[in-house]
């Protein structure tokens, strides 16, 4: 499923002094004055993705699903091919390895995908007194929907707490996932700590009690090969825009029988088989969940983004390069005694994400001063207020540098120089 480009190319990609990728990204190529270290918020897009978006409108634009003419069929085919491609990339395949394209639902973003599960699947299984277990490191989009679902069902929301370095221990999983647990929802990779959660262990724990596992892959798909079957997931959500695709396209994969059981969250055009004055019969999965005209050009461009990521660059090269970048960044940060890393001190635990604070300086001041030297980082609560509260982070805010394979050592050096300027500014 992962069509990585092999160890040789991965080794070459790990040379972070070189950057064979930057030229593919018009924004980065056109802005040598910036160091973009906020890919955890949204990635930059390669030219081929922008071209694909345009090509859809120039060569196959028609409303998918509706038309009986060839142009509309071409638009429909384009969407269906991307479904199959996504299924292949995330390991949503049958026993013969064939991609299960019909289990791929398009939404607007990972948030909408997770809302769909919480609003349409949770009511199928949650009874009063049941529990939903989530980790404290969830992004608000995999947290608030569960607060709402629990409130609606009279269920209880319980939290899995990691160690301070971000590890979910077997003891914690055993303590929190039990006979009352109907759903476990967890980030594959934390958007603040950068850690990869033990998805297979969570799956085994919840399945042992007949429950279901929902995984937020917003921060994993851009960085690593995902295999929903091998990891034992029941639902998997991600956003195209963090994985080089356009904004406004989200994906939900679910096990077919579960998707089949769920009611649609939105109703209207293109999601029905038939409608009478008083009733409607839903279309099959996935159309049942896709009311209204889809962003077909965005979906087509998402296919190109995944092709670039998984075939042109390849996950092996992505991982090798990002690991080298993170290791180098952590090493350079260690030179600055006033920088405190949030989470694990081990570079291997940070999948492209490094959160930190500068002693005594508000994260927003850090980000503003870095911006003056063209370094783009995120500062704030990172849509993870319960995590920052639990960590006891001052002001409920921290800084986050997030790296992607299209960064290089020069970006990191500029970041470090910028942090030195931040410190000097407050300690003149």
């Amino acid at each position: 499923m992962n069509t990585g480009t092999g160890t040789e190319q991965a080794a070459a990609a790990a040379d972070i002094q070189q950057n064979p990728y930057k030229a593919d990204f018009p924004l980065l190529a056109g802005r040598p004055d910036i160091a973009f270290l906020d890919s955890g918020a949204t990635a930059q897009r390669p030219a081929c993705v922008l071209d694909a978006h345009r090509a859809f409108y120039e060569t196959m634009n028609a409303n998918p699903l509706r038309g009986l003419y060839s142009l509309s069929v071409a638009a429909t085919d384009a969407i269906e091919q991307v479904r199959a491609q996504i299924a292949q990339v995330i390991g949503a395949v049958d026993d013969q390895g064939r991609p299960q394209a019909r289990d791929i639902v398009f939404t607007r973003n990972a948030s909408e995908s997770l809302n769909l599960v919480a609003k349409s699947f949770a009511p199928c299984v949650l009874e009063p007194g049941d529990e939903v277990a989530i980790t404290i490191m969830e992004h608000h989009s995999n947290l608030i929907p569960w607060q709402e679902a629990c409130r609606a069902a009279g269920a209880r929301l319980v939290y899995l707490y990691p160690t301070k370095t971000g590890e979910l221990t077997d003891e914690e999983i055993a303590a929190k996932v039990g006979p009352r647990t109907k759903i476990v929802a967890a980030a594959h990779v934390s958007n603040v700590l950068g850690v990869e959660n033990p998805i297979r262990k969570l799956a085994d724990a919840v399945h042992a009690h007949g429950g279901y596992l929902v995984v937020d892959g917003a921060q994993s798909v851009p960085h690593m090969a995902v295999d929903v079957r091998a990891l034992g997931m029941d639902f998997f959500a991600f956003s195209a825009h963090k994985a080089l695709g356009p904004m406004g396209i989200g994906v939900l994969w679910g096990r077919h029988e579960l998707l089949d059981e769920m009611l649609p969250m939105l109703t209207g055009g293109e999601m029905i088989d038939s409608v009478t004055e008083q009733e409607a019969v839903w279309a099959p999965v996935p159309e049942k969940f896709e009311a209204g005209t889809q962003d077909a050009a965005g979906i087509y461009a998402t296919g190109e983004a995944l092709r670039y990521l998984t075939e042109h660059v390849g996950y092996d090269a992505v991982r090798a390069r990002e690991a080298a970048l993170v290791a180098y960044t952590m090493e350079r940060l260690a030179e600055l005694p006033y920088v405190e890393i949030i989470g694990s001190p081990d570079a291997a635990d940070h999948h492209g994400v490094i959160s930190f604070n500068v002693q005594g300086i508000h994260p927003h001041d850090v980000a503003s001063i870095l911006d003056m030297s063209g370094v783009c980082i995120r500062a704030g609560h990172h849509c993870a207020q319960p995590l920052l509260t639990w960590l006891g982070v001052e002001n409920l805010a921290c800084c986050r540098a997030s790296l992607a394979f299209y960064n290089d050592a020069t970006d990191v050096d500029r970041f470090i120089d910028g942090l030195e300027t931040v410190w000097r500014t407050f300690h003149a």
Binding site: I361, H362, P363, H364, D365, S368, I369, M372, G380, H381, E394, N395, L396, A397, T425, F426, A428
Partner: protein, 139 residues
């Protein structure tokens, strides 16, 4: 380029705020928060015969919110309530990017330094916090 962070007077207001303390007998007290940054501020005034005799603040936040509060407390101390409201309206207009007259900038004194914040939309709320709190208190 105007860089507030390199202004010695501005940074001095952040590191050594003269007006950051809890007052003994305030006549007015009001809390302000900026949820996007986590800035929190309590503004206190002692008003006698329509004149702000004393102004102080407590709380925490970024350098811009803290320095802006200290500059404001300095500016309004000794002014009438009416004048403080006029200055706060001028400040908020400036922060929104409106051009003021030379005289207005002079009246805002050190606070006029924050003009450049209008080019940093993410930080406007930080700069405004103390002034909005004052505005809400005197309205």
């Amino acid at each position: 380029m105007g860089n507030l962070y390199t202004s010695t007077t501005f940074m001095e207001h952040n590191s050594h705020p003269d007006y950051k303390y809890e007052m003994d007998a305030p006549t007015h007290e009001h809390d302000g928060i900026n949820p996007s940054c986590g800035d929190e501020l309590t503004l206190q005034l002692r008003v006698e015969d329509g004149v702000i005799e004393e102004a102080s603040f407590t709380g925490h936040g970024c350098a811009i919110s803290q320095a802006s509060a200290d500059i404001m407390a300095d500016l309004i101390t000794g002014e009438t309530v009416e004048e403080a409201r006029r200055l706060s309206a001028l400040f908020l207009a400036m922060i929104r990017g409106e051009e003021l007259s030379e005289q207005d900038y002079e009246d805002l004194d050190e606070a006029a330094q924050l003009k450049d914040i209008s080019h940093m939309p993410a930080r406007v709320k930080c700069a405004e916090l103390a002034w909005r709190t004052l505005d809400g208190m005197l309205a």
